[in-house]
């Protein structure tokens, strides 16, 4: 084999400001590449495009509220997948778990909305949506715990089953046959201080704190990280791995349930097959890029939502297909994913290596 003239070693954890610099450099590089791509595709000046992105995200108070709302929902779903991921349970099914909870919320709003008193209705909505999320998450967890069934593929399939359930529901219960359910804001979550998204944002802020404490300071959180690091170690020190897997997915599913409630009860007041809109997958990236730390995840979800809202504005301002936003998001993700390498490893040339040895 060819003799390598360089050598890769794991580095000590970086000082925080250096790691911020590396990530910032990656984002700048990504923006440069995106600029080239945008210019090639459209012939527009990339600087104008970035200005339009910023105005799309922060341009008016309405846009800022909408930005915060989108961050809240994405963050909530990311919080939901994080405990599972920390355990190395690759839950790719948040999309379906949120959607099925949304469906449960919708059903309660539709059938019980007029008959129950409002406070009771809210409780029933919460219970139904959490239950639906839990059921959808625990089915794959149970098979994983008992027979080690591949959870990535199982949860992926569950997404599509959930989508078809929603499609069925819409065709069966919407009397007009249009498959579009009219919004029911009268049965939605309460509106605080005249801002329809404020409650969502507060709930998610509280959840972020709770999940942070759950993962960092409790026995459950500790067991999750041990199982994630090494299942054998977990067994050896007397952790019941099967129990931890199922219990963690109950937590994960319940959080997805809350996300579904916020999305349907607090935002759209209706449901469609695209209500979750890929956030279940984006959440996986938010969680991973945030190193499974709820506080960092606030930043990563901000970054991704900013890119998406900004790119949406670009497509309206310049009459471009909205798909541009997905292309740019994809490129930026490649760079952020790639830059993690430079945070964890360093490359030594063969000469340096001798000195180091």
């Amino acid at each position: 084999m060819k003799k390598l003239n360089f050598h890769i070693v794991k580095r000590e954890p970086m000082v925080w400001y250096k790691s911020v610099l590396v990530r910032a450099a990656a984002i700048v590089a990504a923006l440069l590449v995106s600029a080239v791509v945008i210019t090639l595709l459209t012939g527009k000046n990339p600087l104008q495009i970035y200005a339009s992105m910023i105005s799309g995200a922060f341009g008016s108070s309405l846009r800022i509220w909408s930005l915060l709302q989108n961050i809240a929902i994405l963050l909530c779903i990311s919080l939901a997948v994080t405990p599972a991921f920390k355990m190395k349970f690759w839950n790719c099914g948040a999309e379906g778990q949120v959607l099925i909870s949304g469906l449960a919320t919708t059903a309660v709003m539709m059938f019980l909305g007029d008959s129950l008193p409002y406070p009771v209705l809210l409780l029933v909505m919460l219970a139904a949506s959490v239950l639906a999320g839990v059921v959808w998450a625990v089915i794959p967890a149970f098979f994983k715990a008992m027979w080690n069934t591949n959870e990535t593929l199982f949860t992926l399939m569950m997404n599509y089953v959930a989508i078809q359930f929603v499609a069925f529901f819409l065709k069966y219960f919407v009397k007009s046959g249009s498959g579009v359910l009219a919004p029911m804001p009268e049965h939605g979550l309460p509106v605080l201080a005249g801002q329809s998204y404020l409650l969502n944002i507060i709930i998610v802020a509280v959840l972020t704190l709770i999940v942070y404490i759950y993962l960092k300071k409790t026995k459950h959180g500790y067991e999750i990280s041990v199982v994630g690091e090494s299942e054998n170690t977990a067994k050896y020190i007397g952790i019941n791995v099967r129990k931890v897997v199922v219990r963690t997915l109950v937590v994960s599913g319940a959080l997805c349930g809350i996300a579904g409630l916020l999305l349907v009860g607090g935002t759209n007041h209706t449901i469609s097959t695209t209500t979750v809109d890929g956030r279940g997958f984006t959440a996986i990236m938010v969680s991973w890029l945030g190193k499974f730390n709820p506080v960092y995840m606030v930043l990563t979800s901000f970054l991704i939502v900013f890119l998406q809202r900004g790119a949406g504005q670009v497509s309206t301002d310049f009459r471009l297909p909205s798909a541009i936003s997905d292309i740019v998001t994809g490129i930026i993700l490649f760079f952020i994913i790639g830059c993690e390498f430079f945070l964890q490893y360093k490359i030594l040339s063969a000469k340096n290596r001798k000195e180091n040895d």
């Binding site: 084999m1 794991k10 027979w147 080690n148 798909a323 292309i327 490893y345």
Partner: protein, 315 residues
């Protein structure tokens, strides 16, 4: 009934390309969740190449070039996506699930852009892909079922058979499988793990890209109006359904095709219940997944280190 079978085959082959490509990739230990994106990009490149060729050649477009230029463009597009995936996961040691999902986001963006900019203008090119043996019509049902298809259908079957042979009967296939099962041992035996993973992923993605081309040019007759990522996820499902064997996937893909379109051929079922029927391919996959894991037969398991990156220093 005959029309149903023919449609199942035409749709199934799009799945077959995807699942053959993903099987090769997974055999090397890479779980590439970017297949939907790869198919989107492959289809975009192929369609765009076809468009360029047909507008350059005008009325004298010949069959051979009109078919092979898009096929090659598609495979190149797919391979570039595979290269991005391998570079991030092998060289930069990134997480495979996350990289795959980013690939899908990117690919869906590229294809949506293509749809928005060009729309369903590929019916002219599609004619080249759906034209088949001239004598097929004279042979009745036999001709329609086996000989009436376009070139991509036969290509899918040939690729699946060749991959199956290479994976099970050759030294290269054995090495590849050992990389997917236990990379540390493979490395110790002198197999270049990185090189195998790069090659398997790029070849797999090139093949999977053809699935996108086949779906648009053959099954949809060039009327590309919606994103094809669902086809990609089903192709990943098909890999499990056929327990990582491309030869079984030939039949499996036709079954999947049949399940996918069954709802529009079944009569006497309400409009709403058809949505329940569309669940079938996914539910069947889940059942197979559970069944194979409970039975725990060694031949039917996923590659042992599927989804795990291999770093020599961290053995």
């Amino acid at each position: 009934m005959l029309a149903f079978l023919v449609s199942s085959i035409r749709l199934g082959m799009a799945f077959l390309f995807g699942s053959t490509g993903e099987t090769i990739t997974e055999k090397s230990g890479h779980l590439n969740l970017g297949i939907p994106g790869v198919m989107c990009v492959g289809a975009s490149c192929g369609c765009f190449a076809e468009y360029l060729y047909l507008s350059a050649a005008g009325p004298d477009a010949n069959y051979f070039l009109a078919v092979f230029i898009p096929i090659i463009a598609t495979m190149l597009g797919g391979a570039v996506m595979g290269l991005i995936f391998s570079f991030l996961t092998v060289t930069l040691r990134a997480n495979q699930n996350v990289t795959g999902l980013a690939l899908t986001t990117f690919g869906v963006g590229v294809s949506d852009y293509m749809i928005a900019e060009t729309g369903a203008v590929y019916s002219k090119g599609s004619r080249f892909f759906t034209s088949s043996f001239p004598f097929a019509e004279d042979l009745g049902w036999f001709g329609e079922l086996f000989l009436s298809h376009g070139i991509l259908i036969y290509l899918a079957i040939i690729i699946a058979l060749v991959s199956s042979f290479v994976l099970t009967k050759t030294r290269v296939g054995l090495n590849l499988r050992s990389v997917g099962e236990n990379p540390a041992t493979a490395d110790a035996a002198g197999i270049n793990v990185s090189r195998y993973r790069y090659a398997a992923t790029c070849i797999g993605c090139a093949i999977a890209g053809l699935g996108g081309l086949s779906f648009i040019m053959d099954y949809l007759n060039g009327n590309w109006e919606y994103c094809i990522d669902a086809i990609g996820w089903l192709a990943i499902a098909l890999v499990i359904f056929t327990v990582w064997k491309p030869s079984i996937a030939i039949i499996g893909s036709i079954i999947f095709g049949a399940l996918y379109i069954a709802s529009s051929y079944i009569t006497g079922v309400s409009f709403a219940s058809k949505e329940i029927f569309k669940m079938l391919p996914y539910v069947v996959t889940i059942v197979v997944l559970v069944f194979t894991s409970i039975r725990n037969k060694r031949d039917n398991q996923p590659p042992q280190s599927l989804g795990l990156s291999y770093f020599r220093e961290e053995r």
